[in-house]
């Protein structure tokens, strides 16, 4: 009997911000008191541990859990800053084929029993790693950027998720409002139109992400960061609140810089 929501975070293309999104949405939910388990399914190329800053605390991993060499709770790394946030890390020295779809489903179901949210960080691509990552999920978040290559890949993923019967929502990452305004970047509406998907969040491009990733601190832990409010809003929308999207359109030339960060 599972109670928590298992949500896969996927994109098709690599490098669009899946892992950063997983870490920050997960941390934002945990800030709200939700019990959150993050699962890194990118076997061989794990990174969620680095983004969360828990890389030195890994003892066991997903593959060892699946192979029965440790208990699930032994492999979970609890966050020291957010007591309701935990990570199940991927194996770094194994192949993706080490975990099958049924095994993955078993792990996700077990995590969903004791958590409100299970966020599954998916590997890039649409092959075995993708099928494994979506196997235990009931919903999906598709992360994309307003670039045609990312959107084309997201479109493939949206098709595959729809085929699998998973409801999905979209996070458009690395939006640059000033470029959208000048017509040099696809707008949020354009992206939603092309993908015919419901919007969950708009995240502006911000160097804060690089800075906080360098330090291994999810940026939502710092209330002074510009993007914190945006990830908090995404967490509230996931929680079922109707949080309106602030328009990226700027009222005046001078107001542009100030309104840039209010989106999301």
């Amino acid at each position: 009997m599972s109670s928590g929501r298992a949500i896969v975070i996927t994109s098709g293309k690599g490098g669009v911000g899946k892992t950063t999104t997983t870490a920050n949405v997960g941390a934002a939910l945990a800030k709200r008191g939700r019990r959150v388990a993050l699962v890194d399914t990118d076997i061989g190329l794990r990174n969620l541990d680095l983004v969360l800053g828990v890389e030195k605390r890994i003892v066991f991993d997903l593959v060892e859990v699946v192979e029965g060499r440790c208990q699930l709770r032994q492999a979970l790394i609890r966050d020291k800053r957010l007591p309701t946030l935990a990570l199940l890390p991927a194996a770094q020295t194994r192949e993706k084929e080490a975990v099958g779809e049924e095994q993955m489903k078993g792990v996700i179901d077990a995590l969903a029993e004791s958590n409100d949210y299970v966020l599954i960080d998916c590997a890039a691509g649409i092959e075995h790693g993708f099928r494994m990552a979506i196997a235990g999920a009931r919903e999906a978040i598709v992360v994309t950027t307003p670039e045609i290559s990312a959107i084309r890949d997201a479109d493939r993923v949206v098709g595959k998720l729809t085929q699998a019967g998973l409801p999905l929502r979209l996070i458009i990452n690395r939006v640059r409002p000033e470029m959208v305004k000048s017509g040099d970047m696809l707008s949020v509406d354009d992206v939603c139109d092309v993908l015919s998907a419901e919007l969950l969040g708009i995240v502006p491009d911000d160097e804060e992400v690089i800075d906080t990733t360098n330090r291994g601190e999810p940026l939502v832990l710092d209330e002074t960061k510009r993007l914190t409010a945006i990830y908090d809003k995404i967490a509230r929308r996931l929680d079922g609140e109707a949080v309106p999207f602030t328009s990226l359109a700027t009222p005046s030339f001078f107001g542009r810089l100030f309104t840039m960060w209010k989106a999301g």
């Binding site: 493939r156 949206v158 729809t162 409801p167 017509g183 707008s187 139109d193 092309v194 998907a197 419901e198």
Partner: protein
């Protein structure tokens, strides 16, 4: 100087428009992963089936594909030249045209009967309200769950997408 004036007065070239158009074309071909031979065979069979029922002009029949939201739509434009005297259905129809109200179970009676009545009678405001609040009508609603966007309005942006369609790629 001319460049400067151009920059000042002409609207800049919008690369987002180019991106949108390129994306539209590439997604169309991504979605339509049918081989050309398959499309031809489909067209042939389709016209054959239609000609069982009506007389058509196959020379001027046109079958095209068009991007519509998540799906690719097939559009058939087939000139009908006449009605066949005796349609040639492949299998005899076994089902009744519409069940008589007396044979329907009581729970489904209200909406079913209202739908079957002629428009003038069915459109009385009281009756409409009755149908809307009938238990059957309510049962059709998906139960409210936390994953309440399961039935997200994925087709809500129809107007804009139509605008995106433009001419069919070659």
């Amino acid at each position: 100087m001319l460049e400067f004036l151009k920059k000042l007065f002409l609207p800049p070239e919008r690369s987002s428009e180019t991106a949108k158009e390129r994306l539209r074309v590439v997604l169309l071909s991504d979605h339509l992963s049918l081989a050309p031979e398959t499309v031809e065979a489909l067209k042939r069979d389709l016209l054959e089936v239609i000609s069982k029922y009506v007389e058509i002009d196959p020379a001027h029949a046109d079958v095209t594909f068009e991007q519509r939201e998540r799906e690719v739509a097939m559009l058939a434009n087939v000139p009908i030249t006449g009605i066949r005297e005796r349609p040639r259905p492949t299998a005899p129809r076994t089902e009744e045209p519409s069940p008589s109200p007396q044979l329907v179970a009581p729970t489904v009676d209200a909406p079913q009967a209202a739908a079957d009545e002629p428009p003038a009678a069915a459109l009385a405001p009281e009756e409409e309200a009755a149908v809307a609040s009938a238990p059957q009508a309510q049962e059709k609603q998906p139960p409210p769950t936390r994953a309440s966007y399961a039935g997200a309005p994925r087709r809500r942006r129809r107007k804009k997408t139509v605008a995106l369609q433009g001419p069919a790629p070659g």
